[in-house]
């Protein structure tokens, strides 16, 4: 893994892992601004942590709306999320006021 992921990326990866696959829903879940979520998704896609797929054209046409793009976690994404989450847990523990620091 190249660089450790930031909190924003982890939040978004977490949402995608939980099956929240559309950008709009990720915005709702993470409460991050849409101007942050979409570029981050783009970056995650580029580094291969998420895949983007188009929904079936026929489904969209049947419902009379444009088709939507959804995101899925790749195996690398799963791994990066696990590593990142562990790291965040350690940091969170360090930040507790009663942490001894040992």
């Amino acid at each position: 893994m190249a660089r450790s992921l930031g909190i924003t990326s982890l939040q978004i990866l977490g949402a995608v892992r939980d099956g929240i696959s559309y950008g709009l829903d990720i915005v709702a879940r993470t409460r991050l601004p849409s101007g942050t979520v979409y570029p981050t998704l783009g970056r995650l896609k580029k580094s291969g942590l998420v895949k983007a797929r188009w929904e079936d054209q026929r489904v969209a046409e049947r419902e009379g709306r444009p088709r939507r793009r959804y995101y899925e976690l790749t195996a690398e994404g799963e791994e990066a999320l696990a590593t990142g989450a562990a790291r965040v847990t350690i940091i969170a523990a360090d930040l507790q006021p009663n942490a001894t620091g040992t």
Binding site: G23, L24, S34, P39, E55, P66, R68
Partner: protein
Amino acid sequence: MSLRLASACVRFASILVPGDRRREWVEEWRGELAALEAERAEGGVGLPSAIGFSLGAIPHGFWMRTEGWTVDGVLQDLKYSARILRRAPGFTAVAVLTLALGIGANASIFSLVNGLVLRDPAGVVEPDQLVQIARSYEEAPRWDNFSWPAMESIALEERVFSGVAGFQDFTFVVGRGSETERISGELVTGNYFEVLGIQPHVGRLLHPADDLEPAAHSVVILSHSLWTTRYGSDPGIVGQTLAIGATPYRILGVAPPGFAGIQSVGTSPRLWVPAMQLAALSGRSPFDSWGSSWINVFGRLQEGVSFASAEAAMPIVSTRLRESNPVNDGMVVVLESGVGLDPEGRREARQISVILLLIVGLVLLITCSNVANLLLTRAAGRRTEVAVRAALGARRMRLIRQMVTESSLLAALATVLAIPLVYGAGRFLPALFPYAVSVSLEADVRVYGFLILTGIVAGFLFGIAPAWAISRRDLTGALREGSSTSGRGKTRLRDALVISQLGLSLGLVAGTALLGRSVRNATTAEPGFQPGGLVAGVISLEPTGRYNEAEGRALYRQLIQDAQRAPGVRAATIANQLPIAGGHSRGSVRRFGAPEDQRFEAEYVVIGPNYFETMGIPLVRGRALGGFDDEPESVVVINEALAALFWPGDEAVGQELEAQGVTWRVVGVVENVQMRSLRSPAQPAVYYPFAHVYGSQMALHLAGSAGVAPPLSLVRSLVAEADPELPVSQVYNLQNAMTASMGETRTIGFLVGAFAALALTLAVVGLYGLVSYGASQRVREIGIRIALGARHRSLVRLILGRAMLIASGGLALGVVISFGLGRVLESLLFGVAPSSLGTIAAAAAILMVAAGIAAWLPARRASRVDAAVSLRDA
């Protein structure tokens, strides 16, 4: 609705996305927006968050564009741009200076708006919870202050207000003898500082216990500025005394730095004294009087009470006030959120702000189009360079990026250069502003934020044209042709820019002319009295503590007698207020026998003998008021407006009216006088004889012989002769005061005039540049024409014709802008129509003459070309 706005946003952002990925990008966003709309239909998402969501498309698009950019690439662009700009120092200097002016003007005006309207008063805790409280009337809405008992009654509403406090401006006469100084301050209720949450800088501030009994609390709080300037920041100040009038006041403490009351305009208060001291300072003790309204009231809302629910509770308060005293009949209590400016002040400030921002916005547009023009000219000259870079493999996108970097660098330099301008404006603007600005206008984070934003917008505005021009150019063609000729179509963009510059500057020139005519009209206006030759000075007996009513009367009588004997004085009198110069007061009057609720607040003017003669106010019917001893009965003179209001169609002379519990007989009617300002119509007025109504603060009026104003010093010397220690607070030349009352118009006229001159210069330089460039591109053609025998005159006409076409375009656009700007300025105009054709025609003539000269010079030069030389060189 929201979907349309959202798709517009996405469509706009899609411009940023690289072409090869744009379709996919747009499709994804379209899908998301459709889903968002579906959720909105179910009521899941509010409109603001939906708009917020779709705005995210802009940073997303921007990210797509810059995704592949490396730091090295951007740095390389920057270095290259810096080198290019350094190589053309003349161009860089002109562009950066022009832009800095445009950007600096915008940020400076914004700092004014920021200080007056947007910024909260210094030191106040949670200003959002503060409300201004005023009385209004159902039949005649207004914004007015309260009587003391009314304020106390409002404060009872403890479910709404956690505290209610009051203040009133007061000018204190400080020090003794020759060191007497007048210091403006405020009389404030004991809880004033507590309600605001102000913390002392030194010592302590006032407590409610400091304001319990009339004339019993000789204590004072100093402002930080008074403490530093008068006492050299003496830390041991607490406990020292300050003589106000004849009484020593104990200094309790110093207010924090920057705190200057809660009003944004007016003189900054420099000391605060308990309101109950009014009794000691002026001899008036209106603390039990419902009829005397004098204190400005504000309150802090209880925790958790919203402004709307506070407003909803006011009818209860109004009812209680009406039931308390018949004076309050018809009164309604109104609220305004926040402090700083009352609603009328806010409206005025907003209006002036809009006008100023609009004007500086126009100036910014002109400067941007000017720099865009310069860049386009350079771009034309750099076509070979660009073509070479393209031939060497630079992608078009890369070239545009280079141009954009150059524009950004220019904008950044201009923004940095604008910072000292804005800083300077913070000091310079308050002096220019028609009101005394009591708040600091120094730039804060918000002003610098605005400055940077303006810089970015400007960079975008002037950078987009040349980048677009480059991207459309046939690059290989340029390389082949060299740089000597250029098709006509290519200059169309520059034509458009010059046309818009000419149009905008015509608008500004016309605006200046309208404002200038208004100021001139004001100097010759006839407000119902003869301002020419009148001077006046305000005398306050109370602060000296040495005059009772009989002695006061004797002094004023002496003053008038002395004044009438002074050389150059035609007539002299006294009155309690000066028309237009300010200090207007009103009193409640009622037609005798009319029901109690038919009271009317008329102008309240107390006058000495010969008032109408001195002021040049014509008597219409009846007689004027007599001298000190000639009016044993209670008689008044009224103006035509009150006569028409109370006795329409009837003879007013001989009728009776009731005011201050006295019945007055009307003995005369005079013409209406505009007491307030030239722009507000005359109000009904009652003139009371000084013989019956004593006032300790009166203004001595002198009318000069033959309309020549006596020197202002005469007022002071007359008073000094009568009593050397008697202070004369303000001295006015009424003609000048009247002109000064048009201060806003003059200030804005001055600003618009300065900007118009700048704009016209830029536009004319732009036109000159365009014609010179056009002519230089046609040197070969001109040479051929000359060789074929064309005359100079026909050549000049050939080149001038096109220039005049452009100027006419600018003229047409400018007329439209002039009409629009005239409408915006309407409230500031006086005696001139906002769409005055004569004014616009005069402005248009100025523009055409300037344009003609700017075009004729290069045209003449081009027509003198030596045919042989031009053909050989071209």
